[in-house]
Amino acid sequence: MITYSEHKLSNGLRVVANRDRLSALAAVNMLYCVGARNENPSRTGFAHLFEHLMFRGTRRIPDFDLPVQRACGENNAFTNNDYTDYYITLPKDNIETAFWLESDRMTGLDITEEKLETEKSVVIEEYNQRYLNQPYGEQWLLLRALAYEVHNYRWPTIGLTPEHVREATLDDVRAFYRRYYEPSNAILSVSADLDPEEVFALAEKWFGGLESSPAPVDTLAAEPEQRQARRLEVERDVPAVQITIAFHMGDRLSRDYYCGDVMSDLLAGGTSARMYNELVRRRRLFSGVNAYITGDVDPGLFVMNGQLMPGVEIASGEEAMWGELERLANEPVSAEELEKIRNKFEANMLYGELNVMNKALNLGYYAMLGDLELVNSELDAYRSVGASDIMETAGRLFRRENSSTLVIRGGRD
């Protein structure tokens, strides 16, 4: 259970505070409601490039990291399809440094042609390191493009191609900053041993004077219902065949989210899960298996994948995966197995509340979803998923015409 208080500044900045009486640290999290979903299709990867630029200094503070480090702190950031998140942890007594820095870079970013060029190279190397120079690294590039035809989720955060990053201009940077980096489009969340009123006073002091226009609204084209099975097989320099099957499902606040999460746990949540027991341990078809949901804000994907053992036919591997999906749709889950999943969710939720960083991150995320209370009530939503919900959801989602299958295999020898 995470206790919290909320406050909204007149410029629209939302502030959430949790008091942690045991920690000597403060976590300050700044979430901007902008991600790869908001990108121009010919400038994909831009939200993430922009996140890098937010560390390249402002008119007043040329180096962002230095003051954090001087204050014994640490900071970082990440971008996904839906939002961009910046976080700082530092000794509680130094919390004001975080407010000073975050309020400064919300308005005073100073990007030159030279800084932009260097950061573009860094991001292209990140592209190389994480996507092109890894076995199966292209998985998400290929899978998103296969599963989505219309919605902006059809490209990953890193972008469709390094070319898009290379072509970004200073004008793009200015326009993006002006449109999305506004107090009204941001959420500040803090966890520390501080009275929430103190946190709100600090927020008023550092952010209260910033001007804001109304939060931008981007209307995204919805993905039409998929009516035909899709399939892509590619050859890459990989030692084992990897099969991935993705299905469209509901959005983050729908019932599908909870049912999908429970189903992915039944299939692949740990070594007692069905896929591991059946496909790895008993039948020895795969060396590793996984299932998960993307959990995006808009309708997302249910994904299952696995790497085949040498000599196993692709068709047998796929058939075995489908067998597990059909079992979910046709056989009711036992009370005991369901209780296991519920206990796991409860434990994981508790394990996730053990430090200030996780709490600040969670509060920002749920505020972004528009329902802060979910941070504590979500366990009930999981607990309410019953055997019949699972059969109904599995039957509706796991149809061939709702599937996208990606096979990455080694060259023929």
């Binding site: 180096d63 014994c72 027991n277 790895v280 296991k340």
Partner: protein, 425 residues
């Protein structure tokens, strides 16, 4: 009131980092049980630490196979039953293994403590190592290793180990994937019998700990077989080479590692060299990051760290750079090392490094379990948690002259090994 944006708000540098000492609860059968009480979180963590790392094995992959198969079936339960029960309680179970140690950790909700410890007992005292489960494990580990060996950074890490210690040294050896095929149940059972003993173990409990839980724990730990003292492994002198390369024709990036063998944590210069490593590549804005990433855009990341083993230790600088930048990056790395040896570090930079190191210690210890990790590492190295206080004091006492002196003594270019894995240049 408008805030003063022209300068950084005043900062306070924590002068000492509060850390509780682990309380020695008892030594049933000679196994020391240490407790770190942090009530109110609703969770308990128990870590069993065995001196059973891969340096002790005589058969390749035997140490990790033993650790990872402890939970794959016991005298009374099948692997599936054990996994089912652990998951049913929502208990987190993890095995980690390095060259010296294996650590078996359970984290559970307070109300499932007794149930989880009953499983811990099956796992640690009664493992059966069924042949079937061992073969599944070997097959999938073999394939996962093959996949990892298509990654330049993984291959560079292995090649670096062989290049600084020698290909057959216990701290440097890497084995072919095919060795998984010949690993036998007898190898694993033999390793278990020899190393998973009371004489070879200590336990650290943290979180919602009370006397009743400690009693439960002590009762089963007392049943660990005493075990005979383990004969020392032969540790040859490291036999390093100056340079090693491996070609990955299609790689778009090269993985680079530069470094050398130094000494274990107990050495008088270890903490000093941690400061040196931190300044070189331990934080965002460190010298290597500034040069390779922020100035040139050669890489997404560059790092440097001191790594400690029980009887040795090394320093490594590591990065993955665009293949076309490989030579330029190597030059830059050596130039940064040279600069550290030539010029005194500006006082301001050193102060920053010290603050970062103090902050890092605080962050590691946030939450009820961080202090358990620190305690385990201290105990492994023969220290109590007073080490943290003396660590902070020693870091604070380091001068720019001392940094240069250490760099001159330990980072002479002719003593460094360079490893490159990537496209032909």
């Amino acid at each position: 009131m408008a805030p003063d944006r022209s300068r950084q708000p005043e900062v306070v540098i924590p002068q000492n980092v509060g850390i509780m000492n682990a309380e020695l609860y008892g030594s049933p059968a000679g196994v020391r049980i240490y407790s770190l009480r942090a009530a109110g979180y609703g969770v308990v963590r128990v870590s069993f630490v065995f001196r059973a790392g891969s340096a002790w094995q005589t058969v390749p992959f035997c140490a990790s196979a033993t650790a990872n198969n402890l939970s794959e079936g016991s005298r009374n339960m099948t692997a599936v039953q054990i996994a089912e029960r652990l998951d049913y309680y929502g208990s987190y179970f993890d095995v980690s293994i390095d060259r010296d140690w294996s650590v078996v950790t359970f984290v559970c909700l307070t109300r499932f403590f007794d149930d989880t410890m009953a499983l811990a007992k099956e796992i640690l005292l009664e493992p059966a190592f069924p042949e079937d489960e061992l073969r599944v494990y070997c097959d999938k580990s073999r394939q996962n290793l093959a996949i990892n060996r298509t990654k330049v950074d993984f291959v560079a890490r292995e090649l670096f180990g062989r290049s600084i210690y020698g290909a057959s040294h216990p701290y440097g050896v890497s084995s072919p994937e095919s060795a998984y095929d010949t690993l036998s149940r007898d190898d694993v059972r033999g390793f278990y019998g020899k190393f998973y003993t009371a004489a070879n173990c200590f336990v650290v409990v943290s979180g919602d700990v009370d006397d009743k839980k400690l009693e439960t724990l002590a009762r089963f730990v007392g049943e660990l077989p005493t075990g005979a003292a383990v004969a020392d492994v032969r540790f040859p002198e490291p036999a390093g080479v100056a340079r090693a390369e491996e070609e990955f024709p299609k790689a778009v990036q090269s993985a680079i590692r530069v470094g050398r063998v130094l000494f274990p944590r107990g050495h008088a210069d270890f903490i000093g060299m941690q400061v040196v490593a931190m300044a070189l590549g331990g934080y965002f804005g460190s010298r290597l990051v500034r040069t390779l990433r922020e100035e040139h855009g050669y890489t997404y990341g560059a790092y440097s760290a001191m790594v400690n083993f029980d009887r040795s230790g090394y320093i490594a600088m590591a990065t993955e750079v665009g293949a076309q930048f490989t030579d330029a990056a190597l030059e830059d790395i050596m130039a940064e090392v040279e600069k550290l040896r030539r010029e005194e570090m500006p006082a301001e930079e050193l102060a920053l490094v010290k603050n970062i190191m103090a902050g890092e210690v605080m962050r590691i210890m946030d939450g009820p379990f961080g202090v358990a990790d620190v305690t385990i590492e201290n105990l492994q190295n023969g220290f109590d948690n007073g080490y943290i206080t003396s660590f902070i004091e020693q870091v604070r006492g380091i001068t720019p002259q001392r940094v240069r002196e250490l760099a001159r003594r330990y980072l002479a270019p002719e003593d460094l090994t360079t490893v490159v894995v990537g496209a032909r240049r």
